[in-house]
């Protein structure tokens, strides 16, 4: 089994990805010092604590049902405060649970591209989170992948399993310390939403302008399962390409995703998701808001494939272009292979309407103030599908991220 995975990974070692510019993996070092474990998350230094807070991670662990922190290649903290919930390093989990091989590389083929191959061949932990059947974990779990060493590559493999009728809320923050000028983050994430289960996944990315990121994510949703994702990227990045695939496999499986991107500098971003509606009555909604400025370039994708009876899907992509040297390519794809389903999309990309600026000026704002009110409004998507308190917290987290860039 493990052997077969390695063989397949090995064969894909030089396989370029279909999307995104090619990253030279060898350019980043696989070796780095190990860091000491923490006994509590609040022990972390003030400087790093701020980096964590910036991506929604609470060092005090207040209102969290569990925490996971991986620094470079070391899992420095992992704790659970709720029965029925498990959090640990994936490497440890694979050793502990033989059955986990039924999940490993099952949603994402290991030979997808050189990045999945690299994670399989040279894995540096990642988180394993599992909630047992019927357990509804009210407070969110927080997990953080943090880079503090220069020029490294971080190759994580995350596995999340929500057993039948369970509920799990995850806040994931990816962050990098200021001292890091360049690094590569490869993250494979496989999510399994069993019958009647629900996972909400809120992710904040806070990289730097020398960081390259290639996440590889897949989600499998069974009957009546729900997967909700909220994503924000508002800080600089060198290059980011991700294209999670969500399989609404079961009857009435549902997914919704909302992404907010504020791309600055020379960022090169290719982002979006594909939902495959395989279960009858399954539903998908993909919403994105993209702002580009400076020389940033964003390709915003959204694919919905309808393959089952009464499937329903909608894509909504809105983009604002703030400079003449930035670019948004919005690429929605709808594919229907039968007639009894309903897929739609709505895309609008352009500059800020002068009429809106002048209307606000007619209420007393200066041109700059008016522009910032419009941008903030544009990025103001309703956070749906989360419990009230978490929705509020997420909203605040998003506002805070945007506050810093505007």
């Amino acid at each position: 089994m493990q052997e077969e995975i390695s063989t397949r990974a090995y064969s894909a070692k030089d396989k370029k990805a279909l999307l995104g510019e090619d990253v030279e993996i060898e350019h980043y070092t696989a070796e780095t010092e190990e860091h000491d474990a923490l006994t509590t998350l609040s022990e972390i230094s003030e400087e790093y604590g701020q980096d964590l807070r910036n991506v929604g991670i609470e060092p005090s662990e207040k209102d969290r049902s569990g925490s996971f922190l991986q620094r470079d290649h070391s899992v420095v903290f992992s704790a659970v405060r709720y029965p029925g919930l498990e959090i640990m390093s994936t490497t440890d989990a694979v050793k502990k649970y033989d059955w986990l091989k039924e999940y490993l590389w099952k949603a994402i083929p290991v030979d997808t591209d050189k990045y999945t191959a690299e994670v399989a061949l040279c894995q540096t932990h990642g988180y394993f989170i599992k909630v047992e059947a019927g357990s509804k974990v009210a407070m969110p779990v927080q997990s953080c992948l943090f880079i503090t060493s220069d020029k490294i590559r971080q190759n994580v493999h995350n596995i999340v399993i929500a057993e039948e009728n369970s509920e799990l809320h995850i806040i994931t923050g990816c962050s990098v310390s200021h001292s890091v000028s360049s690094a590569l983050h490869l993250g494979v994430s496989e999510f399994y939403v069993k019958k009647g289960a629900k996972i909400t996944f809120t992710m904040v990315h806070n990289w730097g302008d020398g960081i390259e990121i290639r996440p590889r994510t897949a989600v499998v949703i069974e009957d009546d399962g729900v997967f909700v994702s909220n994503y924000i990227l508002a800080t600089p990045v060198k290059s980011l390409q991700m294209f999670p695939i969500i399989y609404c496999k079961g009857r009435n499986a549902r997914t919704s995703s909302q992404s907010i991107l504020y791309a600055t500098g020379n960022a090169n971003i290719d982002i979006g998701s594909r939902v495959v509606l395989q279960g009858s009555g399954s539903k998908a909604e993909i919403i994105s808001r993209v702002i580009v400025t400076d020389n940033a370039k964003v390709i915003a994708r959204g694919d919905i494939y309808g393959e089952a009876r009464d499937a329903k899907g909608h894509i909504e992509c809105r983009g604002l272009v703030l400079s003449n040297t930035s670019e948004i390519d919005s690429i929605p794809v709808l594919k229907a292979t039968r007639r009894d389903l309903d897929l739609s999309h709505e895309a609008a990309v352009g500059k800020i309407a002068e009429e809106e600026i002048h209307y606000l000026m007619a209420r007393g704002l200066s041109e700059d103030e008016a522009t910032s009110v419009i941008i903030r409004g544009f990025l103001n998507v309703d956070i749906t599908g989360l419990p009230d308190a978490l929705a509020k917290e997420t909203k605040k987290m998003f506002d805070m991220s945007l506050e810093k860039v505007m």
Binding site: E356, Y359, L360, A362, R363, G364, G377, F378, N380
Partner: protein, 252 residues
């Protein structure tokens, strides 16, 4: 309070207004009539300094100072405000946010004081939380505009067709509020505010009892006079012919 001399305005390179003169004194309310497309909205936009409406010639003075080259928000600071005929939709910016901005409270919550103001226009807290003008009915747009003016409380108010699309249940309310905003409840000598109203209906006339009326034709003020007389001429003979019969008073 407002003095316009020999104004020419272009939109998209097209001459819309030419040789227009208009004076409005403190305490006065003037009505602007005219067929669709004659340039009424253009005149208000130019007075407010909206950049798409380019002043090619002439001057606009407000409260004794020349404002021809001032940006819109500076004019607003001096005490101007307008209720738009067709305001734009702004996604993610709520009506309540607009009210806060009009109140001069930046980044404030939609709190009790905003909700209280809303009530004056039969606007609910839920409605204050809707994106401004997005999917608003014609009448809702008008009430939202007047609510924002109420918050702004300017000294010189322009209303661009404030009564079109308003349902009968709200028309009295709108009339009363406009009347109050323009100090019409006060004795003439006590009126501090002034205004200009574009309307097609008689309702506003009866309610506000304006001081003067003007008929605009092809980008010029073709005639001016006492409101009742101007209306009578328009009723009897239509816009074009009424001009021949009423006195042209182009100058201040």
């Amino acid at each position: 309070m407002l003095e316009i001399k020999d104004l020419a305005v272009e939109v998209d390179g097209n001459k819309i207004i030419e040789r227009l003169n208009l004076c409005i004194e403190r305490g006065e309310v003037h009505i602007l009539f005219g067929p669709n497309g004659c340039g009424k909205t253009t005149l208000m936009m130019a007075i407010l300094g909206i950049p798409a409406y380019k002043v090619k010639k002439g001057r606009i003075a407000f409260k004794g100072g020349d404002i021809t080259d001032l940006p819109t928000n500076e004019r607003v600071k001096l005490g101007m405000g307008m209720s738009f005929q067709h305001p734009p939709e702004i996604r993610g910016v709520k009506l309540g946010d607009m009210v806060n901005i009009a109140l001069g409270r930046k980044e404030a919550e939609i709190d009790e004081s905003v909700i209280e103001l809303g009530k004056k226009l039969n606007i609910s807290a839920d409605f204050l939380n809707r994106d401004v003008n997005l999917g608003f009915s014609g009448g809702e747009v008008k009430r939202s505009e007047i609510l924002q003016l109420l918050a702004q409380a300017p000294e010189f108010l322009m209303f661009d067709e404030p009564d079109s699309g308003i349902d009968v249940g709200n028309i009295e309310l709108i009339g009363d509020l406009i009347s109050k905003l323009l100090d019409r409840d006060e004795r003439p000598s006590k009126r501090e505010r002034a205004g200009l109203i574009i309307t097609h209906s008689g309702f506003i006339l009866e309610h506000i009892k304006p001081d003067r009326a003007h008929v605009m034709l092809n980008g010029r003020i073709a005639c001016s006079g006492r409101p009742e007389e101007v209306v009578k001429h328009i009723m009897d003979d239509g816009f074009e012919r009424c001009v021949e019969r009423c006195v042209v008073e182009g100058v201040c």
